[in-house]
């Protein structure tokens, strides 16, 4: 702890920052991928075709019953066997995150869509709008508003979960802190620092979600 000074901090800052960039990239990419796949899954889940709805439901329930860490391992060790070459920690982690988050986002989006009264759809259709126009102008804005706080909360979870890439050697923020700590024999302060950063980011995000929730309260 003795060498933990401002100048030392300035020295390790570039490494930590590059780690944070990886963490943010992972979060953003998983968020976008998970949302897109989640929307598709949600639409399939509320389909009137039983087989389609059942398939989507099975996927969601299966993925939600598995530890995320296991999924990351799977894609890290299994996919190379299938494609015949290593895919790298980043790719396998990203695939794992997207598939995993999609299952959660699917449920959030489905609940959001179902939170809009059926009468709203009828009113839109009765006024001469097409089904697509009714969804876009009437149902989606209301659904999105209802599910935004939950989506953001899930995004915060995702941000924290990305630290799991430690196990497949991707140099995210936590991994960077850990590497520095081991190198300089200074693990405790670096883990404290990492905890502090995660805490500040997540707390700030949570508070803004809370504000959003109050602002939108119906």
């Amino acid at each position: 702890m003795t060498n933990f000074t401002w100048s030392y901090l300035a020295g390790i800052l570039p490494l930590l920052l590059s780690g944070m960039v990886v963490t943010v990239e992972l979060t953003a990419a998983s968020l976008v991928g998970g949302l897109l796949l989640g929307i598709i899954l949600a639409v399939l889940r509320i389909s009137r075709l039983r087989v389609v709805a059942l398939a989507a439901a099975t996927y969601v329930n299966l993925l939600r019953s598995l530890p995320l860490l296991l999924l990351i391992f799977w894609f890290y060790f299994l996919v190379p066997l299938l494609v015949g070459r290593p895919v790298g920690g980043m790719t396998s982690a990203l695939i794992g995150f997207i598939l995993f988050e999609a299952a959660y986002f699917c449920e959030i989006i489905r609940a959001g869509l179902q939170s809009v009264r059926r009468g709203q759809v009828l009113a839109g259709l009765a006024s001469g709008l097409t089904y697509a126009q009714t969804m876009r102008r009437i149902v989606l804005p209301q659904a999105l508003r209802n599910m935004l706080p939950v989506l953001l909360t899930e995004a915060i979870n995702l941000f924290k979960s990305t630290a799991l890439v430690y196990v497949v050697g991707v140099r995210d923020f936590l991994t960077a802190a850990s590497i520095i700590g081991t190198r300089d024999n200074d693990l405790v302060p670096l883990y404290l620092l990492a905890a502090g950063v995660y805490l500040v980011v997540c707390l700030a995000a949570s508070l803004s979600v809370g504000r959003l929730r109050r602002g939108y309260a119906l």
Binding site: R117, G119, L122, A123, G124, A126, Q142, R145
Partner: protein, 242 residues
């Protein structure tokens, strides 16, 4: 203008409409009444194709509603509908509620649609609330906006699905007055309602439904003075006691 011919409808195994036949001529005002669960709301929703039918035929202004290939949005744009629970869009202001369909479905220009919205709001006594959100309006006010919204499409006919059932008693009349004024201007209307006083004043004909069947379809005087069926007589005696 509206012809319902031998229409039957099922929800899976339950039959909710049984060979219903009604005709509504241009300018005619038909009140549909009957106990709850008798199929009145379902019938009115079949007229603009919101509910599919399994048997029979519905023709509105020459267009067969349930036929494959019918452009339903185009047909619905010409028939106004007002719902029991108003169904204003909560994320839009009163004006935005009214101009949405004219802009999107009729391709009217925004300022043109807005002008028209203001005129209609004036007519239903809601002009000063043009920029408010539905959540800040009373039920009666919301329903008057919903009527203005339907009128904004310049419909050839209006369908009212229990327009006053969700209202507090003191607000019922403000809505009925608007509907009555519309009737006096010659609008073709089908009104599902329990308001028998309104039916007496405004209707040309009364259709009485029970268990998915049209039990009685008679001129107003005849229906109120000498209903033919026992069911209608019983219904009237129950409802008119209040």
């Amino acid at each position: 203008m509206i012809a319902v011919e031998n229409v039957s409808k099922w929800y899976s195994d339950t039959q909710v409409l049984r060979e219903c036949t009604v005709n509504v001529a241009r300018g005619e005002i038909v009140v549909v009444c009957g106990p709850s669960g008798s199929g009145k709301s379902t019938l009115i929703k079949c007229i603009n194709g919101l509910e599919p039918i399994q048997q029979g035929r519905i023709v509105v202004d020459g267009v067969s509603v349930a036929e494959r290939g019918t452009n339903l949005p185009k047909l619905r744009a010409r028939i106004g509908m007002v719902f029991q629970s108003f169904e204003l869009y909560p994320h839009m202001t009163v004006t935005q509620n009214i101009i949405l369909a004219p802009i999107k479905a009729l391709k009217r220009r925004r300022n043109e649609a807005t002008e028209r919205a203001y005129t209609l709001l004036e007519r239903v006594g809601m002009r000063e609330h043009a920029d408010r959100y539905p959540a800040n309006l009373s039920g009666g006010q919301q329903q008057r906006v919903a009527i203005a919204r339907a009128l904004a499409m310049d419909p050839i006919a209006m369908l009212f699905d229990e327009p006053t059932s969700a209202l507090d008693p003191e607000m019922i009349n403000e809505v009925l007055d608007v509907i009555t004024a519309l009737a006096q201007e010659g609008m073709t209307m089908v009104v599902v309602t329990h308001e028998m006083g309104f039916a007496r004043r405004v209707a040309d004909r009364v259709v009485f439904m029970d268990q998915g069947r049209i039990v009685e379809d008679s001129a107003k005087q005849e229906f109120f003075n000498q209903p033919r069926s026992d069911r209608a007589r019983l219904f009237l005696s129950k409802i008119l006691q209040h």
